[in-house]
């Protein structure tokens, strides 16, 4: 234990010696990091779960279903996420009388409107990614499945989805990083995410470089870790698509 403290002492001395990187601001950055990761992870997860059935329905024979899902993705992909965030944040809060209902429990915390906007946004992008890769399923695979007498549902579950979702992996990895970067706007609705923490510390100490360069580095670490994870997944799951040597 004593050895540990001698190990930490130089770090503590250094931290005592400066105003900006103090335990207090680190606590702030930590809150920011957890908020960012939480926001991005939950919205990506729900978005992913929503996107699979939406992508299947997006290619259905039913005109109304197909067109309405196309319209949804068109709206959410064609407008800035910031507008969607504002709509989710103010759209509910300004309904007269809503503060007396149970819904206010959720709406009082900006995290939930932000989650709603981010989830719908990423679900729209992911739907299009999956739709594209489902459409690109080789015809032979589908014919083979039919020849085996598989029902449509079974074919989707056993043949189309496993290969389509794998092929969507590179594009989905980009979407994950895009979402991480896009989540930086969460601080405009008073969520202390990483960018919000940086902004607070910038405003408090008037130290833009210390604040923004530090979170930029954090975001970079996060982005490259995600990238490495997807590279690894691609290597494992897309091994069959690699050109033969």
């Amino acid at each position: 234990m004593e050895q540990l403290s001698t190990l930490w002492q130089p770090l503590l001395d250094w931290m005592n010696g400066n105003d900006i990187f103090t335990p207090n601001t680190f606590a702030m950055y930590w809150t920011g990091l957890t908020n960012t990761v939480q926001l991005v992870f939950i919205s990506l997860l729900i978005g992913l779960v929503l996107a699979v059935p939406l992508a299947i329905a997006r290619g259905s024979r039913n005109q109304v279903l197909r067109k309405s899902i196309w319209f949804y993705t068109y709206l959410f992909r064609g407008t800035p996420l910031l507008i969607q965030l504002y709509l989710a944040y103010y759209g509910f809060a300004f309904i007269p009388g809503i503060q007396e209902t149970w819904l206010w429990f959720f709406l009082d915390d900006p995290l939930y409107p932000a989650l709603l906007a981010f989830t719908l946004n990423t679900a729209a992008y992911t739907t299009e990614i999956f739709h594209g890769s489902i459409q690109a399923t080789p015809r032979g695979e589908i014919e083979a499945a039919r020849a085996y007498g598989m029902s449509k549902a079974k074919m989707m579950r056993r043949i189309v989805l496993p290969s389509a979702l794998r092929r969507a992996l590179p594009a989905y990895g980009n979407e994950v990083i895009f979402m991480l970067h896009a989540s930086a706007i969460a601080f405009v609705v008073s969520i202390t995410d990483l960018t919000g923490a940086a902004y607070y510390i910038y405003a408090r100490f008037y130290a833009p470089f210390a604040a923004f360069l530090f979170v930029a580095a954090l975001y970079m670490v996060l982005s490259f870790s995600i990238q490495a994870l997807f590279k690894y997944l691609e290597k494992r799951l897309l091994a069959h698509l690699k050109p033969a040597r």
């Binding site: 068109y74 709206l75 064609g78 407008t79 800035p80 996420l81 910031l82 507008i83 504002y86 709509l87 103010y90 759209g91 300004f94 990083i177 991480l180 970067h181 896009a182 989540s183 930086a184 706007i185 405009v188 960018t195 940086a198 902004y199 910038y202 833009p208 470089f209 923004f212 360069l213 979170v215 930029a216 975001y219 970079m220 982005s223 490259f224």
Partner: protein, 239 residues
């Protein structure tokens, strides 16, 4: 009907600002993208490494963080530089970083990195024999670029270019956060004042959709223009 509590005109002005910002940053991004793409294909390791580091950093950092770094940090950085110039050389200059310039520069730098990937692929798709032929005709490097390489490469670059432009257009919304009165900022202000978010946000959303629809049409025309001689619709020389 389109009065919108008196905000109608300001929203229109904001829309104009969004367009200006988007077009100026697109120009900067295309120039940066062309330069960086050329740098990535350069024979010098150092130049290639610089170009690669630039795209890597841009890919890792959110646009908003870069924008705030440039807007809030840029002024301090420039002040330090001008102070130094003043004390060392007695040169007195004052440079003001305003939100518009910071916005154009950041968005330009960010999309320059993305454009460079598009252009790199497009450069590589141009038949080397055509460039050799141009050189054999005695064209200077710049003339080769302007007359041969650029027109041929645009055909391959257009899909990526149009994609980047659509994303860029939506990215301009971020300037409202550093205080520029674009469509989104006006709508957010109006929403806070009148408590009617849908009345203002939906016209703005429609504005973005309208701009992207018009640009889609423009890109279709451009594609037809650069596809001349390649298209299947009988546009070749022998019919």
């Amino acid at each position: 009907m389109l009065d919108l509590h008196g905000y109608g005109y300001r929203l229109l002005e904001g829309g104009l600002l969004t367009l200006e910002l988007a077009i100026l940053s697109l120009i900067l991004a295309v120039v940066l993208g062309l330069v960086t793409a050329s740098a990535k294909l350069s024979s010098s390791i150092v130049i290639r490494a610089i170009a690669k580091a630039y795209t890597l950093v841009i890919r890792g950092v959110p646009d908003l963080v870069l924008m705030m770094l440039l807007f809030y940090g840029g002024q301090i950085g420039i002040n330090m530089a001008t102070d130094w110039l003043y004390y060392e050389f007695d040169v007195d200059i004052f440079v003001n970083v305003d939100a518009f310039v910071a916005g154009v520069i950041t968005i330009g730098i960010i999309f320059g990195a993305y454009m460079s990937e598009t252009f790199r692929g497009a450069f590589m798709a141009v038949d080397g024999g055509l460039l050799e032929a141009a050189r054999a005709y005695g064209m200077r490097p710049w003339t080769v670029f302007r007359r041969i390489r650029f027109p041929l490469m645009m055909r391959h670059a257009l899909p990526g270019l149009s994609n980047n432009w659509m994303v860029l257009l939506k990215t301009t919304a971020l300037v409202s956060i550093i205080g520029l009165s674009d469509m989104v900022k006006v709508a957010a202000e109006a929403t806070k004042a009148t408590h009617e978010p849908f009345l203002f946000m939906i016209p703005v959303a429609l504005g973005y959709l309208a701009i992207s629809s018009v640009s889609e049409w423009c890109f279709m025309k451009l594609k037809a223009r650069y596809d001349v001689g390649f298209g299947a619709e009988g546009a070749s020389w022998n019919n």
